[in-house]
Symmetry: C2
Subunit: 322 residues, 2 copies
Amino acid sequence: MIFEGSEKKFELTVRDDVNLLDWPESHYAGLVRAANTQILSKIENRHTKAYLLSESSLFVWRNRLTMITCGTTTLVDAALRAFDFLKPEQVEAFFYQRKNEYFPQLQSTDFINDTKKLNARIKGKGFRLGRPDEHHLFLFHSDQFYNAQHDDKTLEVLMYGLQGKARSVFNTTGLDTKTIRLETGVDQIVPGFQVDDFAFSPIGYSLNAIQDDRFYTIHVTPQDESPYVSFETNLTEQNSSPELIQKTLQSVLAVFQPQSFDIIYFDPQTPDRRSSAALSPAVSDYDLRSEILESLSCGYDIQYSHHSQGNVKRTRAHKFKI
Amino acid sequence: MIFEGSEKKFELTVRDDVNLLDWPESHYAGLVRAANTQILSKIENRHTKAYLLSESSLFVWRNRLTMITCGTTTLVDAALRAFDFLKPEQVEAFFYQRKNEYFPQLQSTDFINDTKKLNARIKGKGFRLGRPDEHHLFLFHSDQFYNAQHDDKTLEVLMYGLQGKARSVFNTTGLDTKTIRLETGVDQIVPGFQVDDFAFSPIGYSLNAIQDDRFYTIHVTPQDESPYVSFETNLTEQNSSPELIQKTLQSVLAVFQPQSFDIIYFDPQTPDRRSSAALSPAVSDYDLRSEILESLSCGYDIQYSHHSQGNVKRTRAHKFKI
């Protein structure tokens, strides 16, 4: 079965005079509908609302909204819908990103078209990070400086080609979430969080986890035609030291054992430090294939890097059913 | 400017009682029209007709026809048109291949759809060679054993990311073919051939070269959005020794200086040697990233391998015009 795991994502940060948590449920439902996806379940605490969607996740905080969707969803339309609920001057920062897809021919839009629509609503810049014939990330961001908190960091780990136990567990049809948690430890990657997860039929798995204003989310598309897992978390003062980032990364890779992975890392610029050092994770068994660092005019630095197992394996051809 | 360099290709081998060189010109024109491309020029000798097309090339021999097209051409329709001119039992072997594209969303069909159409005319098998998230080749071939001549070998070198002099020459607008030949030596990669070439406006270059029943062809799409060059040649007894293949490969890489390249190599099986050794080109500065070897039921072995420069460069993001 063909299913596009690679996600689109947008992140919207609003001024202090707006409280996104006060939006009526119909607003969130409107975004979800615009993206052509559905709400499966919800968990929340005083700081965070976390919706599990039929294609990925929606997170809401007082001043920020993050929506991630995969498959053939139309996330750009959800972003445009979000702008409808705000005055232009209330938007402080906006990001829209798309990973290069396994099956771009099945998508209803491409990144260039998306940026044209977005740019008509918020002036921005569009980039490709990475060579066009290799793994790469498309990024659009608002073109005004946002003075982000110094601990406002985001880490994404996008993984390709599951191996080992993760591959066999996630490809087993009909498993329930309890079994998946027990067999993989996916709910313990960052311990102590409230967890909400869903096992899709016949295969596929999504997880949202929150603790105060922190979150992590995991989406697994194990199909051999396009094996993909995404992990994303926001980093705060407590967990953004190089040692702790390294530990998180090691935990994620230990669970999924990918053949290769991307790191996408957003780090706020501060007046005294406009450009930050890149994460340089020491990950044994993986070679650094490419690395792009960019200081963005919206107030963040971004790192996009691709890491792959170095050992060449003579593999067999993959036979299609015609 | 966006232009898809990555090509589709089909190769058709017919029984000895058919002479494809005797086909009326209208037959070849019909194939070209079906693919939605145009004939620019033609060279020929006693064994070979070579058409330069607005999107790549068509070669005709007594018992074989090879057509290669890029852009958004519909090559599968040309293959279907070729079957119209033949009785089913006259087809001895058939291959159809597509490299993963830079812009698959701009194509009117994908490989899976193409194979369904082809399989309705000739029973075949479809494969993907290479990981779905990395460089890979799609291949469809007829599912009947063809007893190929032992020197019936084909070498393709597909190159990504031109560098050095090739990048600057081929990205210079308005150059004529004479200047391009002089500056790059592209017409001397295999010396002593009759050459026909074309410089596209504003950039882009194609070359056909023939000598008796031998050919080589080069297509250059230098655009920075999707830098691509293909080189293809048939190997015969005179030039298929490991040393001479190595020499040809070195010459091609020296001209184009790609960041990475694929080797696609077809080698006929013989009764006493069903599976051949792979080409193992010693190419300094390039690492072997992946290698797939497959013995096909149509009588050939295929090697698909991807080779890339190992040195990681911290690169800048590529900014799009919105």
